[in-house]
């Protein structure tokens, strides 16, 4: 037994000891709270502006909290776009993509991290290389492919590419899987466990934290995705939320109150989802050898 593991064992015994509150802690909390508030200011401004009458949004000097609360922006937003439908379309696409792409990219990541096959490194570079061509340029050929598949103006045009390919997700999960000590799997494999069993019963549970993080950002990315839906969707029954929001932003001017209300409607659920899901990251179990 190495000194390290002994120390780990000892540290686990001592982990419960209480530390007194130090002044450094207070400064830390004050600083973090100030930074977090500053970062969130534009979001809060957007949210409060959605309850302001138009002339107050642009008042100089600006107001932060609305002086005269109004829900007029929300009324015109709901009158001008079918948000219930859009909400369903966005949720459906984002949830499907998140679930399927987490699975497919973790599977691929496992292959890259753990299976020694010929061309592994080159194939991995191909995956990385796909991130290096700007998406705007490949949109025309992709549109033609979607036309062949008959997926134009259907959610499939958004779901399938994102579910079945994510260089980003594969790369991220590969990094995490490579960070998991190998002894456990080696032992299990010697005992005759299949790779599938190792993957599902040993690797996946250890990836709860990064899977949650990747899941959150996959969901966010899909929820906020603007370019794909813009190009592939035509009928407004299929429109996702970002497209609906942009209806309030015109060629020249914008309908500011409705725009602020609509953007808040779209963004607020994300923060709620994040608030709930982030517990997973915090409570996520440590991946390191300390589990043994």
């Amino acid at each position: 037994m190495s000194t390290l593991t002994r120390n780990i064992a000892r540290s686990q015994e001592t982990r419960t000891r209480r530390r007194p509150v130090r002044p450094g802690k207070i400064i830390l909390h004050l600083a973090l709270a100030a930074c977090a508030a500053l970062m969130a200011l534009p979001f809060l401004w957007m949210m409060f502006s959605s309850f302001k009458p138009l002339d107050e949004i642009f008042r100089q000097p600006p107001t932060f909290l609305p002086e005269a609360w109004t829900t007029g922006g929300y009324e015109t937003a709901f009158a001008g776009a079918d948000f219930v439908r859009g909400f369903w379309n966005s949720t459906y696409i984002a949830v499907t993509v998140t679930v399927v792409s987490l699975l497919t990219s973790t599977m691929a990541a496992y292959a890259f991290a753990r299976i020694d096959f010929r061309g592994s490194k080159h194939l991995f570079m191909v995956f990385l290389a796909t991130m290096m061509i700007p998406a705007q340029l490949t949109i025309i050929p992709l549109y033609i492919i979607m036309g062949w598949l008959g997926w134009i103006d259907t959610p499939l045009s958004l779901i399938m590419p994102a579910s079945l390919f994510s260089a980003f997700g594969v790369f991220l999960m590969r990094q995490y899987i490579k960070g998991i000590p190998r002894e456990l799997e080696e032992a299990a494999e010697l005992d005759g466990a299949s790779r599938f069993r190792v993957f599902t019963t040993m690797i996946l549970p250890l990836l709860r934290t990064p899977l949650t993080a990747l899941g959150i950002f996959t969901f966010l990315g899909q929820w906020n995705n603007f370019f794909g839906p813009l190009i592939f969707l035509n009928s407004d029954a299929n429109f996702t939320l970002p497209l609906l929001v942009n209806q309030f932003k015109g060629q020249y001017g914008a309908d500011w109150t409705s725009l602020m209300s609509a953007t808040t409607l779209v963004a607020a659920p994300l923060l709620i989802i994040f608030a709930v899901a982030q517990r997973q990251i915090v409570d996520g179990i440590a991946l390191s050898g300390s589990k043994s």
């Binding site: 010929r118 290096m132 932003k249 982030q278 300390s290």
Partner: protein, 314 residues
């Protein structure tokens, strides 16, 4: 200090496979790899390879978006090299990356470290940091156009009140790219913070406390335990954020529309302008191809250098 070597030593103690099983194992491995990779391979082949080959083909063609493409040899590339604006855009892009990538990574890492110590309040603080990620680009543009407007910006009045001359952020050539970098750091921080925290979380307290018991200072712990253990996350973030940063485009479009001055243009902005505003898909693809080569080089170097500093558990 030998803690990280100890970690490696313990991880290196892998049971050795008997030799005669190797070739059979290789074949089984290849099949297993194929199975695990197959969904993503389908996606790669159907949705990626085709469009990428098409873009590559266009780089050596004349194509205006309609009708047939004609062979262009290297003329798209010579056109690019003769265009002084491309050089400027390349410098702007690199400058943006130099400011943004280390800016966001260092800030996010430090905040992640501090947040580790914030206990239950972490959840609340982190919401604040993630808020910019979910703020719509319209709201981002509106509020930053306001913050960058020298007439009414509270930043500028604050600077003036302490006697610092306030810059005209989006008009002064020296400040345009740094202004974009500020917005990008602000918006990218939450994401990297969550990634770093996930990485730190997976180290577990045990290693650090073990190091503490070994008598390491805070700095030694950071440098010899924390950094090596989250080095896979650092590598991931540095590669993906350099790629993302080299492709920056939307901020310029959001703040300046399609007629940004030379001092504000980046490579992908040029690509989009050439392709969709000037119908010059050949030159646009050639430029994308050059960008691709540069990024491939940069990423290749990072992947090659990782052996020296990235620590995996195996």
């Amino acid at each position: 200090m030998s803690l990280d070597t100890q970690i490696r030593a313990s991880a290196d103690a892998v049971p050795v496979q008997p030799r005669r099983k190797v070739s059979r194992r290789h074949r089984k491995d290849a099949i297993a790899a194929l199975v695990f990779l197959s969904p993503q391979l389908v996606g790669l082949i159907v949705f990626m390879i085709g469009p990428l080959v098409f873009a590559l083909y266009l780089a050596f063609s004349h194509w205006d978006g309609f009708g047939a493409a004609t062979f262009a040899g290297l003329s798209n590339f010579t056109e690019l090299f003769e265009n002084p604006r491309i050089q400027r855009s390349a410098i702007n892009t690199v400058w943006f990356t130099v400011l943004q990538v280390p800016g966001v990574m260092i800030t996010a890492f430090l905040f992640a470290l501090f947040m580790q110590k914030a206990g239950k309040m972490t959840n609340v603080y982190r919401l604040g940091f993630v808020a910019p990620v979910v703020t719509s680009s319209v709201a981002v543009a509106t509020i930053w156009l306001y913050l960058f407007n020298p007439e009414i910006s509270p930043i500028n009045s604050a600077l003036r009140s302490v006697g610092i001359p306030a810059p005209n952020w989006l008009q002064d050539p020296a400040f345009i790219i740094p202004s974009f970098a500020v917005v990008a750091i602000w918006q990218g921080l939450g994401y990297q913070l969550v990634m770093f925290m996930a990485g730190l979380q997976s180290i577990g307290a045990s290693y650090l406390e073990a190091a503490e018991l070994d008598g390491c200072s805070a700095w030694q712990k950071l440098w010899h335990v924390t950094v090596p253990l989250i080095s896979p996350t650092i590598l991931f973030l540095s590669i993906t954020s350099i790629i993302g940063s080299f492709q920056v485009f939307d901020y310029i479009y959001v703040f300046m529309d399609s007629s940004a001055p030379d001092e504000a243009r980046t490579i992908v902005y040029e690509i989009v302008q050439m392709a969709f505003r000037e119908f010059n898909f050949g030159a646009a693809s050639a430029l994308a191809f050059l960008l691709f080569l540069v990024l491939l080089g940069v990423t290749g170097l990072q992947m090659a250098a990782q052996k020296r500093w990235v620590h995996y558990a195996e």
